[in-house]
């Protein structure tokens, strides 16, 4: 053993090369494994913590058609509707966790609205056959009803910017408790807690009836009282909103899905003269007739967004009519950074393993051959093949093991620092994406929007816990030790092969 150790010191040109190759490869391998594992772990965290929102809307397929007067008009050729069947398709996809939607707005005559007090007065007037006078002046011809299933969809439902919308709920109420009225309408109706979609629609606009009720209306009132369907729908008011200067939004009330459907049924019953006097449409389906403007869904599987969209397209939501958009930009940006770093470390790892094995094999072969004379002298001195081979294997094994230990120690000591530097560099690179926009992006007028989007993605990346740290599983150390053992055996084999030969035939 002593002689072997002396040999190691005596022959630096042989052993230093082997030591350096093993040392450098060990450090590289351990660092790359650490970086790769950190990236995998960060990816896993990202996948677990990211929820992607998807939106389903209808595509516009606009075309220009010639009109009779020789002009043109733009028409939408897409006649599809986001209806109950579409919702069923979405509910059948198990990876979609939440479904929220904005219902299209429908309009009905404003004179179908009245308060409960007015309705009572009207009933009394009708019973007496006298006149009914209403002083309420809403100044509206039509009232729209939009619907949504969640409060945060209100701005989009009304089509106004979020900052312009102010919602005031009546005490203890939320959107699920009734409908939100525009402030003007709310005050016009005398700040009611509920209103009715009434049966008393009459000719003309406004709400002033100074004349006696017409006979047909009195008769119809009697007729309706005998019908199973309620002649008036009472709708609770949960609050009111204001939305800046937007006149269009000021005529639209917002209901949750339940009231949106029942109001549609009620107005359908009363809107047409023929309807109220001749027939009632049973089971009026607002989903099937008015449809939804947008469906928002979430998935907890951000990595499978493309597959989910592909599945929905196969199920019938074809790309020609429907557009599904996922808000996964930030996820993809962060993932791209991690994947790029992970893949880079994997390539370096493969190169270190490949070149390490190759170089070590070549250097060992070269080193053993270089010591042929020594082997023959030892043989001449009476040492056995096995003994010489063992001593060579011990020498090389010791050097490889020493390099391995030094490599592990260096990686352990400096690993976290190097990983921190890599992490820092990666973050700087990500930040530079915002600063180094391409000429195309820079020349766009709203490049600020793109810049904001990138900045928010970079922030998301910085928030993601991608703290690269040194960490190698124990089996890797085992594999490294095993590789050292294999190379010692290889050195043993090479030495024994040379020692076996007859000295006189050594050159063959």
């Amino acid at each position: 053993m002593k002689a072997s150790l002396k040999n190691i010191i005596r022959l630096p040109n042989v052993f230093v090369t082997v030591f350096l190759v093993v040392f450098l490869c060990t450090v590289l391998i351990l660092l790359c494994i650490s970086v790769y594992r950190s990236c995998l772990s960060a990816e896993e965290t990202l996948n677990q913590t990211t929820v992607v929102t998807m939106e389903l809307t209808l595509k516009e397929r606009l075309t220009r058609v010639e009109t009779e007067d020789g002009g043109y008009e733009i028409v939408d050729l897409n006649h599809k509707l986001l209806d109950g069947q579409v919702l069923e398709l979405l509910r059948a996809e198990s990876r979609i966790s939440e479904l929220h939607y904005i219902c299209n707005t429908f309009f009905f005559p404003a004179d179908l609205l009245c308060t409960e007090a007015e309705y009572a007065d009207l009933q009394a007037a009708a019973a007496e056959g006298g006149s009914f006078s209403r002083d309420t002046q809403l100044g509206l011809y039509e009232v729209g009803v939009a619907g949504c299933t969640r409060e945060d969809l209100l701005p989009e439902t009304l089509g106004v910017p979020k900052e312009d919308l102010t919602v005031t709920y009546l005490a203890g109420n939320g959107l699920e408790d009734g409908v939100l009225l525009p402030k003007k309408l709310y005050h016009g109706l005398g700040r009611p807690e509920a209103f009715l979609i009434g049966w008393y629609k009459a000719e003309g606009y406004g709400f002033r009836f100074d004349a006696p009720l017409p006979d047909y209306l009195l008769a119809h009132f009697e007729e309706l009282k005998g019908k199973p369907a309620p002649p008036a729908l009472s709708v609770p008011v949960c609050g009111y909103y204001t939305c800046g200067e937007d006149d269009q939004a000021a005529t639209v009330m917002v209901a949750n899905e339940k009231y949106w459907q029942s109001i549609y049924g009620a107005q359908d019953y009363y809107t047409l003269q023929e309807n109220r006097q001749t027939f009632v449409r049973p089971d009026v389906d607002a989903f099937g007739e008015v449809g939804l403007a947008k469906i928002r869904m979430t998935t907890a599987y951000p990595g499978e967004v493309a597959s989910i969209i592909g599945g929905l397209m196969d199920a019938g939501l074809g790309g020609d009519d429907y557009l599904i958009t996922a808000s996964d930009y930030e996820y993809k940006f962060v993932l791209a950074q991690m994947e790029s770093m992970g893949n880079f470390s994997l390539v370096i790892l493969c190169a270190a393993v490949l070149f390490g094995l190759l170089l070590l094999a070549v250097f060992l072969a070269y080193a053993v051959r270089k010591r042929q004379r020594e082997i023959y002298i030892l043989r001449a001195l009476g040492y056995g093949e096995h003994g010489i081979a063992l001593s060579f294997a011990f020498e090389f094994g010791t050097v490889i093991l020493g390099a391995l230990v030094c490599g592990v120690a260096a990686a352990y000591l400096f690993g976290n620092g190097i990983c921190g530097m890599i992490s820092q560099r990666a973050m700087e690179n990500a930040r530079s994406a915002v600063e180094n926009l391409s000429p195309v992006a820079q020349s766009m007028a709203n490049s600020e929007t793109l810049r904001d989007q990138l900045e928010s993605a970079v922030d998301r990346y910085l928030e993601t816990d991608l703290s690269l740290a040194y960490g190698v599983p124990f089996p890797i150390y085992g594999i490294l030790l095993g590789t050292a053992a294999v190379f010692s055996i290889y050195a043993y084999g090479l030495t024994r092969g040379i020692a076996k030969r007859n000295m006189m035939q050594k050159e063959g």
Partner: protein, 449 residues
């Protein structure tokens, strides 16, 4: 012949060292071919973005809605606008020396259009005006291919040639072939005669679900020179590009387009086509450079390995060579024998490598190309939509076509074309110093020198 036998015997006698050298060759050939594949894949990717109009300016219209769709790029961002309005740009600016575009409009012809039962109309064609067919992405990507005749070129537009390209389905249904004349209705309701110069085929299986108008069907598309659109009805335009005698004027043109709302009031910009494609290629260029360097590194490694191996093999055999030379064998005999031995080693290492790459090369190259196409810059990264998912499927088909055929074979040929001359040269140089020595010199030299 004896030298060949000697070489073969020498190869089989030195099993271990021959195996080691063969293993090295295996690795070098595999790595070299893989690096060539990567570089070639980058080339395919770049070719997708190539455009013959690099010095033109392309009109981009930003249709992103800043309120609700912040950051979402509209799918028709490249749609330029109403063709009749854009055409007026030429009239305002005398310094526009050339322009190209893809203009389209509904048309009637003397032919019977493809009219399936689900279509709501009476059957119309879509007249598609181009300057160069290869500028149309469907042709460039290989989705549409020419089956007979020729494509439309820039010359057709310049000379206002009355020629057209029909789909294979329409040509066969109407029994029209190359050289036949068809009539196309212009906007003043006159019929113009056009000669069929090419027939194309659509290779992509498209969904006809919900297609209600016959001119939306790819079968009903007739390609004509863009010059036709001075006379034909047209509704819109994609990829509008202009060339200026003085590039500094582009700002004025841009201001004019915006001032008169020629793109429906959306902000419009002119971007140099070469800049546009350079942006797309930015990501792949670094990969290409890296693997070009890798290729040369592997060449250097291969040269080094061969030189070290040949030299050490020759040095360890100098007594054998000395004896052979002393017993009357020529230096040529030794050289041929050694070459045969090395050839066997290279074959033993190179052939399995070639076989392995033939098996795994295509899937590896496809995966690489897909990853390259997916590895877009942060600003080009877009949210996933049903349109991009559909586009990904089409792109996958196009990649499959690009990497099919003899792509892997060509890459291998390229790699071996570099490797083999280097290998032969390294062997000659290494052997030269040994073989020029005299027999007695070889026999009396000390070991290890």
């Amino acid at each position: 012949m004896n030298a060949v036998k000697y070489g073969w015997k020498s190869f089989s006698r030195r099993g271990k060292s021959s195996f080691l050298f063969a293993a090295l060759i295996f690795q070098v050939v595999a790595a070299l071919t893989l690096s060539v594949i990567v570089v070639e894949v980058c080339g395919i990717y770049k070719a997708r973005n190539e455009n013959p109009y690099g010095d033109y300016y392309r009109l981009l219209v930003d249709r992103r809605n800043p309120v609700f769709n912040a950051g979402h790029q509209a799918m028709d961002k490249m749609y330029a606008g109403w063709w009749p309005r854009l055409q007026k740009i030429h009239q305002y600016f005398l310094d526009i020396t050339d322009y190209t575009a893809e203009a389209y409009g509904q048309a009637e012809t003397s032919l019977q259009p493809y009219l399936p039962s689900w279509c709501d109309d009476q059957g119309y064609f879509l007249l598609y005006g181009v300057t160069d067919c290869m500028e149309v992405s469907a042709f460039a990507k290989g989705e549409l291919t020419l089956t007979e005749g020729r494509l439309l070129t820039e010359r057709d537009r310049r000379e206002d040639t009355r020629v057209c390209l029909l789909s294979k389905d329409i040509a066969s249904a109407n029994r029209v072939s190359i050289g036949d004349v068809i009539e196309i209705e212009m906007k003043d309701e006159t019929m113009e005669e056009y000669t069929v110069v090419g027939i194309y085929e659509d290779h992509v299986r498209r969904s006809n679900l919900n297609v209600t108008l016959s001119y939306d069907l790819p079968e009903n598309r007739i390609f004509v020179p863009l010059s036709t659109f001075d006379r034909a009805y047209s509704s819109g335009c994609y990829n509008y590009q202009i060339k200026l005698s003085d590039d500094a004027l582009i700002g004025e043109v841009e201001a004019l387009v915006n001032k008169y709302g020629m793109c429906e009031g959306y902000p419009a910009y002119f971007i140099k086509v070469s800049d546009l494609y350079e942006t797309n290629n930015r990501g792949v260029r670094s990969l290409e450079k890296a693997f070009t360097i890798v290729r040369w590194v592997f060449m250097a490694v291969a040269t080094l390995l061969i030189v070290v191996y040949v030299r050490s093999a020759a040095v360890s055999r100098r007594k054998e060579y000395g004896v052979l030379l002393a017993t009357g064998h020529s230096k040529g005999f030794l050289a041929v024998g050694f070459f045969v031995e090395l050839f066997c080693c290279i074959a033993a290492g190179g052939l399995p490598s070639v076989g392995l790459l033939m098996l795994l090369g295509k899937p590896a190259a496809t995966a690489l190309l897909t990853a390259t196409a997916g590895n877009v810059s942060a600003e080009a990264l877009a949210v996933t939509t049903s349109d991009t998912v559909g586009g990904m499927l089409l792109e996958a088909e196009a990649f499959d076509t690009a990497i099919g055929g003899g792509f892997i074979g060509a890459c291998m040929g390229n790699a071996l074309g570099i490797f083999l001359p280097v290998a032969v040269l390294s062997v000659i140089v290494s052997l030269w110093s040994i073989l020029r020595a005299k027999p007695m010199q070889l026999l009396s030299r000390q070991e290890g020198i």
